[in-house]
Amino acid sequence: MGYDKFKILKSKAVPLAIENVDTDQIIPARFLKATERVGFGDNLFRDWKYKPNNEIKKNFVLNDHKYSGKILVGGKNFGSGSSREHAAWAIYDYGFRCVISSFFADIFKNNCLNIGVLPVQVSAKFLDIIFKEIYKNPKTLITVDLDLQTIKIKKTNYKEDFDINEYKKNNLLNGYDDIDYLLNLKESIKEFSKQTPL
């Protein structure tokens, strides 16, 4: 079915310097009741954004208008916990196209790649530098080049390469998804199913 192609993203970024951000925080379970993929962005980080009485929590970074952009920068072990793809949808629907961290949980990373959000894993040191630069100047621009697999902080010399497997990279660059690929294998899948013992 595909999604927007991802080539180069140049954007400001939102710093969320917390470790172990789990998918229950990204989108709490009570907002998973939809039967269609709509409106999840509104509830991104719901309980960090609002108090139980719906008052805005001013000190949460998404409520701080200094920061904006299509890149979310998170602390180590981002996206742990539940497999809910709704977490990746919420991030996408809110307007982010890329998440940067020094470490991602597996399922979350897969989910992102499957819907066209690029997870960029950088070194702990580079992550620190990104946070510092954004805090110093919230207008700091970051360039993520998927084709070259590089991430740069504009107007500085800070630059790092990142890893992504060739297949997924190609999918993102072209906006392809796995199902298109698998549907072409249907006949060999049917053949294979005949010889499985279970």
Binding site: M1, A17, I18, E19, N20, D22, D24, Q25, P28, A29, R30, L32, K33, A34, T35, E36, R37, D47, P52, G75, K76, N77, S80, G81, S82, S83, R84, E85, H86, A88, F103, F104, A105, D106, I107, N110, N111, N114, I115, N165, E166, Y167, K168, D177, D178, I179, Y181, L182, L183, L185, K186, S188, I189, K190, F192, S193, T196, P197, L198
Partner: protein, 463 residues
């Protein structure tokens, strides 16, 4: 070079290897529930395709269901809509569907093993991270996202790179009142919530071979809480005895054929793991968590660590304690609690109810504690009644609810109120997991029972 258990199962399911890319993996069993499937079915509709192997897919309603008055119409309209969507999708695609009130209904990871859907050497996926539970049978089982649910429905395959392999060996004899849950919480506290990310874990050693199948399920269930894709235990006599004769277990010649395959499912002696870790089981004590991730666990008589001793950032650690309203250095024992939750796919099976009942028998529930006892399935519920556990529980002031995920993720009405403390036998103590503002302490059914009796954190050995 020899192969690991994981290699044997994974490699025999690979249809195609893509250079510099993922493997195309064939899936034997797909479990579906109401929350992570509707958008996947919608995807099939958009592509105008049908489920490829409906007989390999099983659907149940569990995440969103009420645990009271299940015979009545579901009051929450959004939940109701999700349940109706699953029923409709199952019908349309000819998938077996065990909805609310059905005698086979229950939590997806509880009913799989109960009915012989879960088998050794199988690849099993579900849009729920605790699919790792099924690894207890020597299956490769892991949670997937909704895009992948759509992939499996339409092609019975997913595409994933082969994970690295880790073996966790625990030898020694467990002391009294130390349960599989404690073993798992202990391991996670040592490895942290990301210590096994990128790996698939095999559990080996005396502790696991002596463990019951249900205990193994509890351990494998919690694999995801240290970041692992999944965890598995080689099938043995206990495994085969457990599955034999269940509804979907192969019979006669099929059993024999399957057995030929299952007998080879062990790690060869010369196989190599990417990482090996071992622990002495006799040193493990009853465990409990004090923070907001499952890695923040200590032995029940221990103290909350100091922020300076943490690997991760001090700020994140202190934020977590602030949420719990606990302080560094505090003892956890004696802390007052408000709720007890016995249930979930981690500890909602009959052995868990037996263990809980044994502790509360002849005692009374503390008046300040609200206890939610939620069986993992109708089958478990039935056994609780037939074995006479319900009478004992009632005498002690407890009541039983109807099966479902309930307060494990609090999508239904079973929400722990803001600021309240719950000792929970489930798997996640994340902020707000059991309801906005709720504070969760993860523990075994025995520790939960002791807390329910005294109204505070209590060492079950000292009751």
């Amino acid at each position: 070079m020899g192969q690991t258990l994981f290699d044997k199962v994974w490699d025999s399911h690979v249809i195609k290897k893509i250079d510099n890319g993922p493997d195309v993996l064939f899936i034997d069993r797909h479990m579906v529930h109401e929350v992570t499937s509707p958008v996947a079915f919608l995807g099939l509709k958009k592509r105008k395709i049908k489920v490829l192997f409906p007989e390999k897919t099983f659907a149940t309603a569990d995440h969103n269901t009420p645990t009271r008055n299940q015979h009545m119409p579901v009051k929450d309209l959004l939940s109701k809509k999700q349940l109706e969507a699953l029923e409709k999708n199952a019908k349309e695609h000819k998938i077996s569907y065990w909805g609310l009130g059905h005698q086979k209904n229950g939590i997806v990871h509880v009913i799989g093993p109960e009915h012989g859907i879960t088998l050794p050497g199988a690849t099993i996926v579900c849009g729920d991270s605790h699919t790792s539970t099924h690894g207890a049978f020597g299956a490769i089982a892991f949670g997937i996202g909704t895009s992948e649910v759509e992939m499996v429905l339409s092609t019975q395959c997913i595409m994933q790179p082969k994970p690295k392999k880790m073996r966790i060996t625990v030898n020694g004899k467990l002391s009294k009142s130390v349960t599989p849950k404690d073993v798992a919480l202990f391991i996670i506290s040592k490895l942290s919530t990301s210590g096994a990310t990128g790996y698939f874990v095999e559990y080996s050693g005396e502790v696991f071979s002596n463990m019951s199948m249900e205990g193994r399920m509890t351990v494998c269930n919690l694999s995801i809480e240290m970041g692992a894709r999944g965890g598995m235990i080689a099938p043995d006599k206990k495994t085969f005895e457990y599955i034999k004769g269940r509804e979907f277990t192969p019979k006669n010649d099929y059993w024999k054929k399957a057995m030929d395959y299952w007998k080879k499912l062990y790690t060869d002696e010369d196989a190599i793991f990417d990482k090996e870790i071992s622990f002495n089981g006799s040193l493990i004590e009853p465990m409990i968590t004090y923070g907001t991730n499952p890695g923040m666990g200590i032995s029940i008589n221990g103290g909350i660590p100091n922020s300076d001793e943490q690997d991760g950032s001090k700020k994140t650690f202190l934020k977590s304690l602030e949420y719990m309203n606990y302080r560094e250095g505090d003892k956890i024992i004696g802390k007052k609690i408000d709720f007890v939750f016995l249930g979930s796919c981690t500890n909602g099976r009959i052995e868990d109810f037996r263990a809980f009942t044994k502790i509360v028998k002849g005692r009374k529930k503390a008046p300040n504690v609200t206890a939610w006892l939620v069986p993992g399935s109708h089958k478990v519920e039935k056994a609780i009644k037939e074995e006479g556990l319900l009478t004992i529980l009632k005498d002690s002031g407890f009541e039983l609810r109807e099966p479902g995920c309930s307060a494990c993720l609090a999508m239904n009405d079973d929400k722990i109120p803001t600021g309240k403390y719950a000792v929970s036998t489930s798997n996640r103590n994340f902020e707000g997991r059991q309801g906005p503002g709720s504070r969760t302490l993860l523990a075994s059914p025995i520790v939960a029972a002791a807390a329910a009796i005294t109204g505070k954190i209590t060492d079950p050995r000292k009751l």
